[in-house]
Amino acid sequence: MAGGISITGMGIICAIGHDAAQVSESLRRGKSGIGRMRHLDTAHSELPVGELELSNAQMKAMLGQDENAIISRTALMGAIAIRQALAQAGTSSLAHRRVALISGTTVGDMDLTEHFFERMKSDDSLLSLPQSNECGQSSLRMASLCGLEDAEVCTISTACSSALNAIIIGCEMLKRDEADIVIAGGSEALTRFHLNGFNSLMILDKEPCRPFDSSCAGLNLGEGAAFVVLEKNAAKPLAYIAGYGNKCDAFHQTASSPDGDGAFLAMSEALELAGLKAEEIDYVNAHGTGTPSNDNSESAALKRVFGSNMPLVSSTKAFTGHTTSASGSIETVICLLAMQEGFVPANLGWSAPLENGIRPVTALLERRLEHVICNSFGFGGNDSSLILSRKPLDSGSAPGTDYGFETAADVLVDSAEDLSSLKEFIPMMELRRMGKLLKASHLSSLRALAAAGLESPDAIITATASGMLATSQLFLDDIVANGEQLLKPTLFMQSTHNTIGSAIAIRCRCHGYNVTYSQGAQSLEWAIRDAERQIATGKARTVLVGLYDECTELSASFARRAGLPCSPEVYARTLILKRKQ
């Protein structure tokens, strides 16, 4: 069948192995990578994590880099995984093909930022370092470390589903002939920033995590990177991507809906695209973080999708830890290994079900797998599912669907003065936590929707260079001022780049496609390209596209000292794109 998207290479580095063979070996032996910290410098060394054995210096040596080079851990891990994937795909002739690197991350270069943050406030020589939330920088660095300077580079930031969404977007780009070869996945290093953030939300287990177990009490953070090489019509692929779904739970910034709406919709959409019945799925690699909120909600969603035909299910996070933005690609590679070698990895740490929970596979099973689902969900309810198959099922976009689009509204809010008028639309209890960027993005999107005569769009695609800069800097200050103790959860919960897109989805109850692009000044262009794809393929009739960024006093002072132009205090532009009649 023409047009099937195939995977021709994979690379992985995480707590249970530095390449695919090591990861497979650990999975087969039931050897967890969760344990004591070796590298992360934090006051919370009591927390178990799935940390990489390798130090930054060792990874620099593997990549042939000078040991004094300043490169973030996220970029180092990512580059190692990309090189592995490219080596397996054997794509030596990249030069004559249109190559795209689509990478998912949230904290990006945060390990550098938090290391240098205090000194940057006074030392001008450090100003060239990552000083903000611009997570697109780490993807550019990975590209240059892998000889991909000529590739298109783009970063997806939908919190913990970032890497899976990067793979989905890679597939769509191939189907629309925007690239010949896509390297897609994600990378995320452990940082004080998100370790303290998850700790402030009280969702870190002080013991090794136990996904779906009646005693599950939280997650263990992990780190790592994984990438896959995607091509059309490859001769001998590792597997095919048969389907995928991206939906929004539109429920809460950090909690999952009790009935698992977003997860249910994402799995259902993936099955529909693949043309598969639920009972044809052999195995689900669950998101299964070990938090009661996720595991109860995902159990409910799995029961809604599969009913009495529950496939084999396991979460592999008790092996790797929750590798956050990288988890979607790390678990995709785990699924590929399971399909190649014919096994189902165990859900470690499980002994009894949650009250209404699913029963996962508790010991390694030898099994031939035809069709496998990989689930990946993120804060803000950015829920995605991917289906891998031995055969090419999804024939690409249906023929004849190539709709044009027009702009139904274009609303800019670029001053903080206007923002008090939001009181008319949003209750005080919801408005109280919003900083100026969230307020401006809400005001511009509510006005744009009204101008286009819409209550809710079919899809929401946001673009941002630095995301929630103000709350992220306040949280960094909170970490320094309070020595990593008793930090404000309200700040962390509003620190991810997809905070805005998911908050708009919650506001207008939009369960449709939801994704956030973060690639510096190119973010909006990427978002509009995606909107075009959604409309052209008939997946959406109306798409809300927003470019949302802000500048803080601190960032303005960095810019002044570096002799760079200052960004506006707040910038929120919302477009409503609509299918041409």
């Binding site: 402030s200 939300l201 009280m202 809460h252 910034q253 950090t254 909690a255 005080m428 209890m429 109280r432 936590r433 008793l486 930090l487 404000k488 959860p489 309200t490 919960m493």
Partner: protein, 85 residues
């Protein structure tokens, strides 16, 4: 006790970004969550931080706080009985 109640209300208003309210707007006995003031799960985490930071009271999880956080009055009586600073 009245002094502690007022102090708690001021701390709650500040930590939970309730600047539009005054201490008088918050009824001592009215429910803080659900149909009362309308606080949510993130607010419960902020209340845990208040108890630890200012009164040396450590709660292991929001579930432990469920009974304590019913109203400002219930928080005050718990703090009065268990404070270590």
């Amino acid at each position: 006790m009245d002094e502690l109640i007022l102090e708690l209300k001021n701390r709650i208003i500040e930590a939970l970004s309730l600047e539009d309210l005054t201490p008088e707007d918050i009824d001592n006995d009215a429910p803080l969550f659900g149909d009362g003031l309308g606080l949510d799960s993130i607010d419960a985490l902020e209340l845990i931080v208040i108890l630890d930071k200012h009164y040396g009271i450590k709660l292991g999880s929001p579930t432990e706080g469920r009974e304590i956080f019913k109203s400002v009055a219930s928080i005050a009586s718990y703090v009065a009985a268990h404070r270590s600073k």
